[in-house]
Amino acid sequence: MTFKPTRRTVLTGMGIAGVAGLCAPGLIRPARAASGELNIWAYDGFITDAFRRRFEDETGIRLNIRTVTDQGEQFNLMAAEDGKFSADIVTCAGHRFYQFIDAGFLAPIDRAKLGNWNRIEDEYASASWVSRSGEQWGVPLVVVSTGLLYNTEEIEAPESWDVMFNEANAGRTAYQIQDFFQIAMNYLGYDGSAASYMNTPDVAQRAVDATRDFLIEHKHMVRRYYEAATEIQQMMVTGDVALAQAGSGPSSQLIIDGFPAAYTIPREGGLAYAYGFNITKDAANMENAYTFLNALLADAENGAEIVRSTGLSSTIKGTEALLTDQEKEALALSAEERSRLSWVDVETAPFIFDLIDKAAEEIRAA
């Protein structure tokens, strides 16, 4: 029997196809939820190819990874999705995740489902930036410090952030405005964490304004304000900058790759914070998300792989023992340098970052 399309069948078929097309968003989401998949937004290198292969082979859960570069990018994408999040897991910075929680984007961690929580180093598992409103909101994954990266062939080992404002280095410096701002506040003698300004917002505003004016005054010395953390590697390699405020990850990678650079925390201090995986509110693949997080925490080798792919320190117990001497050296800071690091205060972060974000716009526009 041959099928001969009539006008009626063609029109009916087109009608069904149209209705199916209109319903697609509603149909696809439950289908993805039931299909053994997990949708993750992660920074580059946070989920290594090796782990992904092992995880997919062992569990049959397919990972759909979207690489992100920024907290604001994720926040705005989630805001646009209006509660129907396409991601099951997102990557939040310890000092920014309050914005995601307050906006209702995240689900608290159910410790009963996360059997491998005890595989996280104790100091990070109990850190203040994992908790808010009496709940734990994510799994800390890597620890970042922000310090001074310099080309050892062009700059003598600096001990102070002074070098960033020395006219001799004009045109050879770079920084991320928001990240550098708190460091600059400390450098100028203000309280970069804003902990002491909580009840005196006018004092905080004056401190931020003074720092902003100082950075605008020295703007001519900056070769570039960069955005993505890895951009600094490119600028160092092309020789366009010799000094930069930079994250420990890109700095370590550059050093491990043999570039003549060093990373230090100058005496006025640097910042430390962590990135973690957070489960989104009403995630379509909630069970798969817990399977993934348990698998990630299960083995220190996963932590070592993340260290190698990002240059950042892992929070998984036993990771350090698996690193080579060269990797340890690139990641290591002396006890004195470590003592100069201050953790970004999660309680004061909403207050101070609002002021800093505005100041950053003004510095850029000036």
């Binding site: 006008r7 920014r96 070769r223 570039r224 020789g239 366009d240 950053a360 526009a365």
Partner: protein, 308 residues
Amino acid sequence: MTRLLIHLRRYSVYRGLTDLYARSPLARVLIVCIVPLLWIIGTTVAPLAQMVLVSFYDSFPVREGEAARWTLANYASFFERPLYLTAFMRSFVFATVVTLLTLLVVFPIAYYIAKVAPRGRRTRLLLLVIAPFWVSEIIRSFAWIVMLANRGAVNSFFSFIGMPGTPVELLYNNFSLTIGVIYLTSLYMLLPLYAALEKIDDNVLEAAANLGAPAWRRFLRIVLPLSRDGVVAGCSLVFLLVIGLYAMPQLLGGPGNTLFATTIGQIFAKAGASWPQGSAFSIILTGAALAYVGLFVAIFQRRGRGRA
């Protein structure tokens, strides 16, 4: 074709459409325009209308269970802080200068292809000029970074010839940004110019030459006036493109040349309720850019009519 039309007549939808088409001129216009109109409304007007709406919100996204509150504060914030105005003015000056430079650079190329090159080679030459535009803006920006960096091709050449003062800072400043943007927008100047120049009758130019008009006079009295539509179209396109550029200024620009589009991008990129302010600034930029280009087009058209 005739068989196809006869076949289509069997369908009531087709018959209905053709009957409607034959009914009146207005119906014909409606049928022809309905798809493009829907496209323009759906892809251009609707997002812009949404942005206008958001620009008057107190916060966005509006939280569940809360009603949207209306405000003019987002527009007012543009005037409250002079630094925004600085970036805004910088964008207009930069876009105007780059548009003029693009015109200066591209006009001779368009003229050569349209008037000097043998007719058989014109398509090939156009393809040659268009070829780099098959590559994305980001990749072309990185190509310029490789060229202009301190250890890039240009500085390596300077070092090779022993030029003093190397490396020269060529990247992350107005120089690198201007070069990159001219490269990016040249096609949008080239095509309207080529179309306008190609239409100029060669006999008119020959007649002028035979009557003793030197090359510069032929250019000023014939080529330039007759290519005015191409110049206006090209300049308008390039200006509107440059005023809204985001990615290339981010990659090739430096701290001293932040454009207003970058400022808007930074506002949108913030995690928090910053969309209303970003939307308000976008509407201000769009409105001002359209007014600027509208004024430019009106002045040139009036001048053109006056001479005609």
